[in-house]
Subunit: 412 residues, 2 copies
Amino acid sequence: MKLSIIIIGDEILIGQVTDTNSGAIARTFGPLGWDIAGVRTVPDDAAAIRHAVTAALSEAHLVVCTGGLGPTKDDITKHTLAEIFGGPMRRDPEVTANIERVFALRGLAMNELTAAQADVPASCRVIQNRFGTAPVMWFERDGRVVISMPGVPFETEGMLPEVAACVARRFHSDTVLRHRCLMVGGISESALAGRLAPWESALPPHMHLAYLPAPGLIRLRLDGRGVDAEVLDAEMQRQIDSAKAIIGPELRYEGDATAAEIALDYCRRHAYTLGTAESCTGGTIAQRITAIAGCSDVFLGSVVSYANSVKTGLLGVDNATLDACGAVSREVVEQMADGARRALGCDCAIATSGIAGPGGATPDKPVGTVWIACATPSATVSRLLRLPGNRARVIDRAATEALLLLSGQVAH
Amino acid sequence: MKLSIIIIGDEILIGQVTDTNSGAIARTFGPLGWDIAGVRTVPDDAAAIRHAVTAALSEAHLVVCTGGLGPTKDDITKHTLAEIFGGPMRRDPEVTANIERVFALRGLAMNELTAAQADVPASCRVIQNRFGTAPVMWFERDGRVVISMPGVPFETEGMLPEVAACVARRFHSDTVLRHRCLMVGGISESALAGRLAPWESALPPHMHLAYLPAPGLIRLRLDGRGVDAEVLDAEMQRQIDSAKAIIGPELRYEGDATAAEIALDYCRRHAYTLGTAESCTGGTIAQRITAIAGCSDVFLGSVVSYANSVKTGLLGVDNATLDACGAVSREVVEQMADGARRALGCDCAIATSGIAGPGGATPDKPVGTVWIACATPSATVSRLLRLPGNRARVIDRAATEALLLLSGQVAH
């Protein structure tokens, strides 16, 4: 069945904000068997919204809109949907209670603009927004469903599982869907695709392999459809076992995991504590680890040594080494990793030092030159990366590679 | 005049890749006076592309497409445009020469798939792609223009200035467009909207205010249109000055800036260096600062003191204070900020200590309880936040508020 997405908001249309909601919606509904027919991004304009909803309804069974639900007068999605689906506006007492709860939590006073967020078209059913004040609205006509969700990505992403569950109940499908992931590092997507090609070609028609490459870590997702869960699970397991054997040492993790989760998992299996010493990644590795709830059993902390004075002062990097080799060198990054173990009192440490750009390059150390290291109780290892792309991409990739170095040094 | 954008590609539709081309196109053409009528994201499917181009041409004078120009068989944009605009394919010798040049640079061998990238519809005019192999194609019919650009963001962004220059020559437009931003913190969107309502209602019809709220920091954008740039600039300035007077102390910055950019700007104006001591934000503040190129004149580094042992060991937080007040307390967060100034040797330090959840809460310190502090050479100030939302949101908001505290303490 087909799903069409409508993203509403001037700020997205003029390129001030990058839309991530359409991707989140597609990633939620795609694996549930929905075909994404298209995405329309339209301004906060009644005629444009009306036109988009009509066009989307003509091509899809389900239309998911986001945006234009705020309390200010440029937010007109709700009134436009009321025009399309008919019925007056009504003030919903449960939405009012939810808004009051959210405002009380935030210590803010209600006002009429906010209270009016509880006005919903009488033609819709409300799903309470547990992540904000604007209600999720469900409209239905001639067997087709339009769902209006908030524009704030945090709220939309938070509500998507509940909304997807409502959709699954409404369009009850008997199909059993299964997804299995393998995380693969240290190989290019095309090289991996070449290695897996014979296996992939032999997959039965109800199974499909998707490559989800991110810098430094490829997520392979095997999707399967069937009618009997037990049969499908056994079949998926056989295929995954075959794929693992073909991938070999480049397999980083079985399941869906980020590089930070793989590093935490490695430390937990060895009962190690972990810290980081970051120069060019500037706290990105620590941030990615601490984004994971419950990391405190493993992660002790970090020294972001952006300035050389911090490398020497807190991490004990040798001034003579800095002078002789430069901050971006094997010697310094290994001293940083060893120094972080001492300074933070952790068993393992991950360290980075490199040139993220656009400035700071030298003829022999161009932008993208990054040394990464990790120190464990038994060894300190390091690796030189030469990464493509702009500053954000270099930092992102360096953080991923450094996190993977920890478990990879043992796997190899 | 109106511009419509079409983004072509299965990988974007299914949420595997986030589209950034539509934003880049809008940011290029918006300030040149083009109204963005809408963005359509469609699959690599001839019928869908044909339908989108027809619909876009019915609403806009200019249609810019990206994607579907690669050498593989799922890339069909070119052939679909040939169907729409007529004419056979022809092999363009200049495009062939460009492809050979790019391949030589990358040290790759040409093959027939690649050579076929030089086949273009006879009905189009070619603009050479100086950033890759797929040519930019310009189609025209009944005074309306369709431009097909590559999907790779680096290539599209690289070619946009040249394409925009061609468009400006073709449609000599008289409309002048201006955007001005104000960053506002410490107030809810609805309270701010209430305060600004009389001013907003009195705006002339050629000006429009948009609210772009992000956790902790609201971006207000005033858009204006005119025919005379000087008159419009003066008018925008008057309106911005009035808005600033109404916003008062909650104004954080004039212009478009992130919280990290506002903090860096504050330090540069005072010739201060900066460091952070992060517990619950786990490196997020350092990561946001170091994401900004050229931050090293201000930013020295960070101690991510996730474990209490790091708070005492590296930041000199007093064990007795930790025992008496707990890590999430005014006393500890102020000691962290002061300790970071000493440990990192920086003039100013930003510190955070809180409960990001989902675990770690106590009856008097629920999830979302965060103490933030900043220390400057003249004072150390702190603030208690009670933040809504999940772990990611608490961390995000705490980082923003802590960054804003640095400049805000002086503004108040």
